[in-house]
């Protein structure tokens, strides 16, 4: 299986070079140094959030009250918000370079975070995916970062289980991955509506909260939870799914969408690739050039790479329990992390893989998500 994917990879990368002729827009390497933020856990089961440089060197490690999940960068400032993993209620605000203690704010009464959020381009508003669990309703909390993260408003997610979202280039349209799965903190992480779940990709106006348009999967795929999402600078979207149906189904787990297209495109990469993903994608990221979507599959132990333009499968990288994925500074490049503590750089265009690490730092098991930021 992995031998096959390596061969495929070579074919695919040759095709990439020919088809695209290395044409990506302008200078993509923003000024400043690139950093990565990820929740993790150390040998003693302490839950942490760690900041690393692009070479893997540890910049800062901060304690978290409980297991973390995703993080969001506040534009224009040295400020990151790390969210609790669902059904957690804390969010920590910290300077990723100073190592100073974080400030904390919590989800509102009757709400918990799903673990992801995103800032408005001016850095003032933080949007957080939340669960209004007593009403089995997904919502988006709106926090005023300039007022100590006071919760100012709440938007409808227009579906159950908004898990991750991106803000599009207009600065006001949120594209939300609504996983569709109902949970209640009284029952832990138990899934309460697998028979009837209806995941969606919803485009929501962040100012009015109104639903612009939303997109569902074909009825036979209603148990494919649309959980994670990434977008290019020109708003082309990749979504990745987790399948809750019978264990012997092989279903598409990576979808593409742009603008007002009616359908989410679901390319079929073939049974071998679908099998390698084991019905579960954990995280999505787009490279800095906007050409490559990375969809990690920790249960399969692979990171899969897809062409955003052609909407097709390119290649896979074997990484046991690999889930965290974030764009590095180079076209086609990603940092990938694993629950076994591995960290590596992989370029999906060149096929080159470089293990990273920090011999001086205490080892950690990396959690699901990595955030890239430039400071």
């Amino acid at each position: 299986m992995m031998e096959i994917s390596r061969r495929r990879f070579l074919v695919a990368s040759a095709a990439l070079g020919a088809a695209w002729g290395l044409a990506w827009p302008g200078d993509l390497r923003a000024a400043g140094q690139r950093y990565f933020v990820s929740a993790c856990s150390d040998d003693a089961h302490n839950t942490l959030v760690r900041v690393i440089a692009e070479d893997g060197r540890v910049v800062a490690t901060l304690p978290l009250p409980d297991r973390g999940h995703g993080a969001a960068r506040r534009p224009g400032l040295r400020e990151v918000v790390a969210f609790a993993r669902r059904p957690g209620r804390f969010a920590l605000v910290f300077d990723p370079l100073s190592g100073e203690p974080a400030r904390r704010f919590d989800a509102a009464e009757g709400r918990h975070f799903y673990g992801h959020g995103v800032f408005s381009p001016d850095g003032r508003w933080l949007f957080a995916c939340e669960n209004d669990y007593d009403n089995a309703r997904g919502c988006i909390g709106v926090y005023d970062a300039s007022a100590g993260y006071r919760r100012e408003a709440e938007l409808e997610a227009h579906a159950i289980g908004p898990h991750e979202m991106v803000l599009l280039s207009d600065g006001r349209t949120l594209a939300v991955a609504n996983g569709g799965i109902q949970t209640h903190p009284d029952q832990g992480r138990k899934k309460l509506n697998l028979e009837t779940m209806q995941p969606s990709l919803a485009y929501i106006d962040a100012e009015s909260g109104s639903l612009l348009h939303d997109h569902r999967l074909p009825a036979v795929l209603h148990q494919a939870s649309i959980r994670h999402i990434a977008a290019t600078a020109d708003d082309r979207i990749g979504v990745v799914m987790q399948y809750e149906g019978p264990r012997n189904d092989l279903v598409p787990l990576v979808g593409f969408h742009h603008g007002e297209e009616a359908e989410i495109a679901l390319p079929n990469p073939g049974d071998a690739v679908l099998h390698s993903l084991r019905q579960y994608c954990g995280s999505a990221a787009v490279d800095v050039s906007g050409q490559v979507l990375a969809a990690s599959a920790p249960r399969g132990g692979v990171i899969s790479f897809w062409s955003m333009a052609e909407r097709r499968y390119l290649s896979s990288l074997a990484l046991g329990d690999g889930c965290g994925i974030a764009p590095s500074g180079e076209p086609g490049g990603f940092l990938a992390s694993s629950g076994y503590g591995k960290l590596m750089h992989h370029n999906a265009l060149s096929g080159e893989t470089t293990p990273l690490g920090d011999p001086a730092a205490a080892p950690v098991a990396w959690d699901n998500h990595m955030l890239a930021l430039t400071l």
Partner: protein, 365 residues
């Protein structure tokens, strides 16, 4: 992780590239063979033994109740034998064990809010015969249905419990209920078209429960870690507390019947057999067949044996073990050893076997 950093960069790269895939030169772990051996030689015999022991317990309780009050002298041997058999399957928390609240009905523990005491007292004081009708009893409070309630009645009851025939009626209801759960577990694993043994054995072709054989093997790997976690976190961690001053023996499992550490010993032995009992098709031999697996396998085997030896050297009663000189320190050392083994299972062993059993992004979101 530590091992990798000592490697030369080229070797580290090769290792990194192979993670999660069968490394060149190493045998692809035969998950199907592992599952077959574990179902046939491990799971089924253990559930058969449990079903037999619970049936014998049911009989013994009926007999012991003939004079209106069962004593440890009359029913203790059958109680201990059934508990021994339960401890040998307690860590197999998947498949039929998850149905019908069987797990909690057999043993509602840890009981942090004294629910067993309250619900048992209520049952005894209300004296409603219909509450003991098997269907009603089985669908009532889980706290009065299993071993903890029976243990209280046998070893720590109020004299007035036996002033009416109802006390013994409760004992018999518990015995019949435990017997029925034991029989149900065995039947669901072993018998019929839907037998869970078949589900595990046919996992290689994919079925509604399992994506493939590897996914079924993961349930066994998680059971191995689960056994160690039960011991470290619950069975030792709860009574020992963080310091000797914080120890509280009555937080231990089965302290009334003075068998807390006997439970631990059986759990650990079950973990050891699960890891290395399968001969050529065992988690142990699968580990050895992988690069850097031989050393890891030695380490895991040695740690399991040290743990078993250390617990064997203790009395069966955790209360007594704590009263002995340096008692807390000795038990704490066992707890530390168990924690270190857990680190090994969740980290390097998971990685080498391709079966993530500890903290991972796999159980993520």
């Amino acid at each position: 992780m530590k091992m990798q950093r000592k490697l030369m960069p080229a070797a580290a790269l090769a290792l990194a590239a192979m993670t999660g895939a069968p490394p060149a030169g190493a045998a692809e772990p035969d998950y199907q063979a592992l599952n077959t051996v574990l179902v046939e030689n491990y799971v089924l015999p253990r559930y058969e033994a449990f079903a037999e022991a619970t049936a014998a317990l049911d009989d013994a309780l009926v007999e012991a109740c003939a004079d209106g009050r069962p004593t440890p002298a009359e029913a203790g041997a059958a109680y201990h034998a059934a508990m021994d058999a339960w401890m040998a399957v307690q860590h197999l928390r998947f498949g039929p064990a998850l149905l019908f609240l069987r797990y909690d009905r057999l043993e509602f523990w840890p009981d942090t809010r004294g629910v067993v005491r309250r619900h048992l007292a209520q049952l005894l004081s209300e004296q409603k015969a219909e509450a003991l009708e098997p269907q009603t009893f089985a669908s009532g409070s889980v706290a009065v249905q299993g071993f903890p309630a029976l243990e209280r009645l046998l070893y720590d009851s109020e004299p007035e419990t036996w002033s009416s025939p109802f006390g013994c009626a409760v004992v018999r209801a518990i015995g019949a209920n435990i017997e029925s759960i034991g029989a149900g577990l065995l039947a669901d694993w072993r018998d019929g078209d839907q037998a869970f043994a078949q589900v595990v054995l046919s996992a290689g072709d994919g079925n509604t429960h399992y994506f493939d054989a590897k996914e079924a093997s993961l349930d066994f790997a998680k059971s191995l870690r689960g056994a160690l976690l039960l011991v470290q976190d619950y069975k030792l961690g709860r009574p020992l507390g963080k310091t000797a001053d914080a120890a509280l023996a009555t937080r231990a499992e089965s302290w009334r019947s003075a068998r807390s550490l006997r439970n631990v010993l059986i759990n650990l032995t079950a973990a050891q057999t699960l890891y290395q009992g399968g001969g050529d098709a065992s988690l142990s031999s699968m580990t050895r067949a992988q690069p850097r697996g031989a050393e890891l396998d030695e380490t895991v085997r040695a740690a399991l044996q040290r743990l078993i030896d250390a617990v064997e050297a203790q009395p069966e009663s955790l209360v007594k073990a704590l009263e002995a000189p340096e008692g807390w320190q000795k038990l704490d050392a066992i707890r530390v050893e168990a924690r270190q083994l857990l680190e090994l299972l969740g980290g390097p062993l998971s990685e080498v076997l391709g079966l993530p059993m500890g903290f991972n992004s796999y159980d993520g979101d």
